[in-house]
Amino acid sequence: MIALLRKLIPLALPLAVVSWLGLLVCMLLRASPAAAARWGTPPDWVILTAQALFAAGIFLHERARPDRLRGTEFVPLLRQLLVWPGALAAVCVLLHLTQHLLAAYVPDRGPVLLNAFYTVNLGLFVYFLARTCYTWRSLVFFRAQPRTRQEWRWFEVLLGASLLFRLVSGDTTSWVLMPVLLGLAGLGVYLSAHQQWIAYLNRRQKWEIVFLQLAILGVMAVFVVYFLNLQNDPQLAGPLAQHAFLVLTSFFAGFYAVMGFLVTLFNLPTAGVFEQKREEILSMQRLSQLIQKGQSEKEVYSLLFDSAVQTVEADAAWLDLDTDNDGPGFSYRVDAGTREGICRLLADYNIGHIEYLNNDLPNSAGFRALELPYGSLIVMPLRSTKHHYGTLYLLKETRQGFDRENLSLLQIFTNQTVLSIENLRLLQESLQSERVKEELKIASLVQESLIPKTLPADSWFEIRWHSLPAREVGGDFYDFLQLSASRIAIIIGDVSGKGTTAAFHVAQMKGIFHSLMLLDKPERGQPLQPSKFMAMANQALSHCLERSSFITASFYIVDYKERGFAFARAGHCHTLYYNAITEETFYFQTEGLGLGILRDGAAYEKRIKNMYYDYNPGDVMVMYTDGIVEARNAQEEEYGEDRLRKLLERSHYLEAEDIKQSIIRDLEEFSRGLPPFDDQTLLVIKFKNAQPLA
């Protein structure tokens, strides 16, 4: 049904035009007896039907037009309504005058002219009403509930029905229909209450609207006066136009215009307040956009301060900041004495850091004593859940100067500011940590470059290593130095603590290792004794290690010619050893104090021992740091020396690389994916039965 009606809508305008032409012909026939005698007199019902069809056509056409309201441009909408129909009214008046003039010249043609112009004016009036009603519809629907649309639809349906009344009831209005018509008028009045759009006008627009509404009412009056006059004219040939429908639509169009006019008129005095609120909202939007652009905290605070002062129109204001590096804060037309006085008073009341609104300062004893020229005060703290950034103070000379809206607006301002400040700080922190990360990466690269990349390789032994720092940079170290074709020095150690500090000491230790190796002169019969090496290293470190730091190390010199090695242990983990002859796996139990603990050289030397051991081909030596044996699993158990020893018992026959891999695998299996708690370093040496290459 509705779909069918939709299809008929394009036909509405042609229908209106055709029925208007039919109406014109009928009226002319009725007005001219001669023509009527020739063509016949059309009956009343034909005229009434033509009138009804014309009105329905025009209204349906207007109804189907797209909404003329663009956004909130109410003034152009009304202006449009006035310009065209206004012109129509002028035409109506002009036609009326022309008709009078012409009637004076050709009296016998008087009735014909009158009826012709009546028909034209009726057409103009109906069109004007249709335009007005559907313009009002746009306004009624502005921000309206779906219910209102429903009500409007009923209003339209009933109006359409009222078109039929005249056809049914004849000239006299039936008393039965009166209540229905009154109800319709009531519905029109009810719909006229939808004037929300007026709230969206500013002061200037409201003035314009007032005049536009007046003009529209004027146009309507022109038409109404014309038709009222004509109603009693004996020369009018046809039956009177659609009473009920026209009266109702004119009533609605007029009433809505009057209501709109009155509402706008009474809104004029408060327009200023509305505009101020609007201004506040706008300045809030501006502020939030600006604040986000603020590059520094100072800029953000300054934006807040200026906006707050402007928006609430404060007479004096200042902003105290808690952070020292942001300078003395901001102030506006306020002297230090007043600031101090108010702050001290608030602190005395113990309300220095909470939201506070006092609209009647002269009536508070404390403030009266200060003899301030101000009547109202707002105190607004800037704080997040964790941090207090500062406090904003605003003063006005008048009493009752601030309202709740000011307060909530300031809350929004300060929240926005705090958010921006926190964002800025987070950004700075992340930049800082990014820098630190970058530096750590460099440190890690430097340390990486300190680790020997090329292993000493020879046919009489195999060395394999594994190193895994717990952080970017570690405290474990190891190094090799091929002293001659048949002698090699090896050091492994661990610096107390982790991370960057430890990494510095690692670099120092590496330097000490290579410097002291210069003292090894076996050709002169003065090979460097490992205990001597440790004593000297301890001496050197005493000058550059802080009191609570120490270093553990094991130092070995392996000699192919001697088929043995000398070593010393300074507090470092015991060396694990597999003897291929006795087939025993054991730890070297030697004594030795860590480096940097005793700073007295002579006392230290007593606590470090040399140890000599003869190796056999097939022997395996495992050196490691405590990160290996102290690795933990989820049950907080330690990997331990025993597990390591038992593992070597099973794997000693493998190549050095495979022994290393089996230890790493076992360690991973033990800790089951837990990240290393401490740096882990592992060296595996396997002695071979072969001549040195060189």
Binding site: R547, S548, A570, G571, C573, G592, L598
Partner: protein, 109 residues
């Protein structure tokens, strides 16, 4: 890490409870740095509930060792768990510091 104080006459006993790692060793260092610690003749460390000691924890004792010796204050450890004792031993601290099995022995030192 919890540190309990107990002072009788000229002896201060600190009972360590938990793990002495990098962060908790700071509070131990604060305890030992207090000037009045040097007024005692002896400082006894009860290690019964000490489950773990990191190199930073060892560093704290090492850094105060010389200071205590200079002031004539004895530093005695007792009730030490095996694995913690092992750490002291590997580092060679057992020859440098007084570590005894029981409280009676510690009191007798």
């Amino acid at each position: 890490m919890k540190i309990a104080h107990h002072a009788i006459n000229d002896t201060l006993t600190l009972a360590l409870d938990g793990e002495l790692d990098a962060s908790s060793s700071v509070s131990l260092d604060t305890e030992l740095t207090k000037p009045d610690v040097l007024d005692y003749r002896k400082v006894m460390i009860d290690c019964q509930r000490l489950n773990y000691i990191s190199s930073a924890g060892l560093g704290v004792f090492i850094s105060h060792l010389q200071r205590f010796q200079d002031a004539g204050v004895k530093l005695v450890f007792f009730n030490m768990q095996e694995k913690v004792h092992n750490v002291f031993e590997i580092l060679g601290l057992d020859s440098l510091m007084t570590i005894v099995p029981t409280e009676q022995e510690a009191t007798a030192v």
